[in-house]
C-alpha cells in the first residue's frame, strides 16, 4: 500500500478519524473464517464430543482444517479473476497463514500428543510411510511461505518472491496426496474413505486450471461483460 499524496493537515486528520471508526467487515469476515475451525474444536472439546479416540480425531480435524484454508487461499485469485473484486487480494495471505497455523497444530498433535516426542518412532514413520513424508514436505513448503510472507521478504526477494510462493501449488498437490494416502481404502477401486480427499483434489485441480493464462484470460473477459 503506497502512502497517499500529501494532504492538508485538516484533511489528514479527518481521514485519520474516518479510519479509526471504519470497521473493515471483510477483514473481520476473513479472520472469522480462519478461526472458525479452532472455535468449533474448542466447542467440541468443551462438550466432550471429540469421539472415543480424541487424539486421532483432533489430528485429522486439524489436517482437514489446514487443507480447507489452503484451498480457500488458492480460491482468492480465481475469484478475483471472475468477479474483479480486487479488495480480496490482501486476504489471500491471511488465509494462507491460517492454513499454516492449522498445519503447525496438526504437526504438533502428531508429534507431541500422538507420539509423545518419541523421535525414534517419528523418524521411522517419516522414513517408512510415504504419506507422512509427503505431508512433511508440503509442511516445509508452507513453513517457507509463512516465514517469507512479510513485506520485508517480499521486497528483499523481489521477483523470486513470486516464484517461491508459486510452490504453494506443489504444496497443495502434496497435501491432497498426503490426505488420500492417509485414509483407509484405495484409489484404484474407489473403496473406503477416498471420496473426501478426491473432492479436495478436484477443487485444487479446478483452482489451478483457472490460473492457466489462457483460461484466466477467458474468465476475466467474461466477467467484464457482465
Amino acid at each position: 500500500m503506497s502512502t497517499p499524496p500529501s494532504l492538508s493537515p485538516q484533511a489528514a486528520s479527518t481521514r485519520r478519524a474516518a479510519l479509526k471508526i471504519k470497521i473493515d467487515w471483510l477483514r473481520i469476515g476473513v479472520h472469522g473464517i480462519g478461526l472458525f475451525a479452532l472455535a468449533r474444536l474448542a466447542y467440541l472439546w468443551a462438550f466432550g464430543s471429540l469421539t472415543a479416540n480424541p487424539i486421532q480425531f483432533v489430528e485429522q480435524y486439524l489436517g482437514r482444517a489446514a487443507l480447507t484454508l489452503l484451498v480457500l487461499s488458492l480460491a482468492v485469485t480465481p475469484v478475483v479473476s471472475l468477479t474483479r473484486w480486487r479488495a480480496l487480494i490482501p486476504h489471500r495471505r491471511t488465509l494462507g497463514l491460517y492454513a499454516f497455523l492449522y498445519f503447525a497444530l496438526h504437526l504438533l498433535t502428531f508429534g507431541v500428543l500422538d507420539y509423545g516426542l518419541d523421535w525414534g518412532e517419528i523418524l521411522r514413520l517419516t522414513a517408512g510411510k510415504p504419506f507422512i513424508f509427503v505431508g512433511l514436505l508440503a509442511g516445509l513448503i508452507l513453513l517457507a511461505l509463512a516465514a517469507t510472507s512479510f513485506k520485508y521478504w517480499m521486497k528483499r526477494l523481489g521477483r523470486n518472491w513470486k516464484r517461491l510462493h508459486k510452490t504453494v501449488y506443489l504444496a497443495s498437490g502434496l497435501v491432497v496426496l498426503h490426505y488420500a494416502w492417509a485414509v483407509k481404502g484405495s484409489l484404484t477401486n474407489l473403496s473406503g474413505d477416498i471420496l473426501r480427499p478426491l473432492g479436495f483434489g478436484l477443487l485444487v485441480v479446478i483452482l489451478l486450471v483457472l490460473r492457466i493464462p489462457a483460461v484466466r484470460r477467458r474468465i476475466t473477459r467474461r466477467a467484464r461483460v457482465f
Binding site: 500422538d114 509423545g116 518412532e121 514413520l125 510411510k129 483407509k184 484405495s186 473403496s191
Partner: protein
Amino acid sequence: MRAARRADTLKAVVKIELTAEQPATLWSQIAPDEYGFYANVNPQVDHPRWSQRSERRIGELGRRDTLMFNGYAEQVAGLYTGMDLARYY
C-alpha cells in the same frame, strides 16, 4: 475361525461352519490392500499406513507397546507356526 480381532471381537459363538473356500471378511472387503483374513495385530509387521509397534488404548493418553496376537500370543501363536505373518495377516 477367527477369534481376537481388530474392531469386531467375537463375543459369542452361535454356529461353526466349515467351508471349502476362505470366506470374505468385512475389513478385507473394505480395504483389501490393508487388511487380510486373519486380521491379527502384529507389532513386528507394519500396517501399510501406520506402525503397529505401539498403540493407544481407548481412554488412555499415552501409547503402549503392542502385544503379539492381541495379547493372546501364548494361547494362539501355535496356530500360526510356519506361516509368513507378513503375508498372512
